[in-house]
Subunit: 248 residues, 2 copies
DNA sequence: TTACGTAATTCTGTATACAACAAACCGATC
DNA sequence: GATCGGTTTGTTGTATACAGAATTACGTAA
């Protein structure tokens, strides 16, 4: 089976498991029985095991000393650490990109995406679809940035860290959509985006690194706001996971 | 089965696969057939699959689009990136530790390990066993340092990055043992160790971070020396992997 | 009522059988 | 001699049977 094959049972189990965990259908600390998941996902134990192994590698679940898996509990500290880690790695990628000095062509994609965001921000009011577009452009910009370091190793690690739903660059953007200060945060973020590309072009590695670290702090700020307003957490990917963890 | 159980077939397969890859018994890019590994390791396909999935998560092998795994090829850039990444994460851990301000008791273990290294360095000549002791103390010191950040998330990631044989804190130390400048490098490394603990105690986060980044550069220096002297590479963990990759 | 020991049940670890798919090989035809 | 097609072989994906271990539940005794 190819891991990428759409019709693959393993793929099916992986997606279903990931979604179930992220949407909070299990409580933190709950044991995940292979047989139960087998019935739930409609596949046999083999693909379920593969999905569990992958989820463990991604850090969503952890092994029990006696065997088997439990849903991981995320403390508030775990969340801020994951976000900071993402900022650290993105900062590293940005610095490497600046030190390397990408060609104008390599920077084109990132700039195009930023122009798209700029266009959104010109509107006096942002609709829900506008926010969806922003989330998409933002995610693509971050990936383009990771790519600018031209290092498969760095790309791989930053991708892994950002795979945790709440550590992703767009993890808390949706929450902002409901808040009055949403527009201001997005504009701040966009200024970071523009500045880091400017820094990379000017080969200012230290500045690029510092900017991406600070950029991740926006996510931490949003996290604080989210924790103060628990009702909205459920709307977010990974939200229930967080609340359950905090309740522990 | 518990992943930690010593007698476990899965554990057996994981260790055997890892060793086989690291010692260069497969060529980079070579396809790893499950059935072949089954015969080789004396276990059934199920544990072999688990071992392959784990090796992929560790970054030693990668999946083929059509299914199956191949041994990953490591370019020289991959190696330096992995080492730098380790330095980045260790620097982050050190900074976090400094900002947090560990108690004297928490620092005790790290200091004890450093005292052990100091004692070794007092000797006029270091034997092979002395180097083994150094490698052990060094590895334990680094783990103790990771722990000082008091963040499971950070510990987890730095452990993962350091799992690649050539990115490990002690990856190239053994190579030094044969070189005349070995003692000088070890003394430099030990000075980094002592300084970073001093910085953490003084809550000098930026200094602690910079020191650990620079500390990792020692490994890069050793890598350069190793690449210039291919014959010695085979003695190292992961050495053959590198040579094969460089030969690509 | 609580604690302890035993039995039953559930779970994971492991091996293996079967099917679908891909690749390699061989032969035939142009 | 080269190319195309079919066959054969090997590989992975998937399901499942069986055994051992762990956890849970229950009953008994203090």
């Amino acid at each position: 089976m190819s891991r990428e094959a759409e019709g693959s049972q393993t793929r099916k189990a992986e997606l279903a498991l990931r979604q179930a965990i992220v949407e909070g259908e299990f409580r933190a600390g709950e044991r995940l029985s292979e047989l139960t998941l087998t019935e739930r996902f409609g596949v046999s134990r083999t693909p379920v095991r593969a999905a569990l192994a992958r989820a463990e590698a991604e850090g969503l679940i952890e092994t029990l000393p006696s065997g088997g898996y439990v849903v991981r509990a995320f403390s508030e500290g775990d969340l801020t650490d994951a976000i900071d880690l993402r900022g650290l790695l993105e900062g590293f990628a940005a610095r490497r990109a600046a030190e390397r000095g990408p060609s104008r062509g390599e920077l084109a994609e990132a700039k195009l995406l930023l122009a798209g965001i700029d266009k959104l921000l010109l509107k006096p009011e942002m609709s829900a679809e506008d926010f969806d577009t922003y989330v998409d452009l933002n995610a693509r910009f971050h990936r383009a940035l990771w790519d600018l370091a031209q290092s498969p190793t760095i790309f791989r690690e930053v991708e892994r860290v950002a795979a945790l739903p709440f550590a992703s660059p767009s993890g808390f953007v949706r929450l902002q959509a409901h808040l009055p200060e949403a527009r201001a945060v997005v504009m701040l973020a966009q200024d970071h985006h523009l500045s880091v590309i400017e820094a990379i072009e000017a080969r200012e590695g230290a500045r690029a690194e510092a900017l991406m670290r600070e950029h991740a702090r926006l996510a931490r700020r949003n996290l604080q706001a989210a924790l103060a307003d628990r009702d909205r957490l459920d709307e977010l990917p990974g939200g229930p996971l967080i609340r359950h963890a905090v309740n522990l």
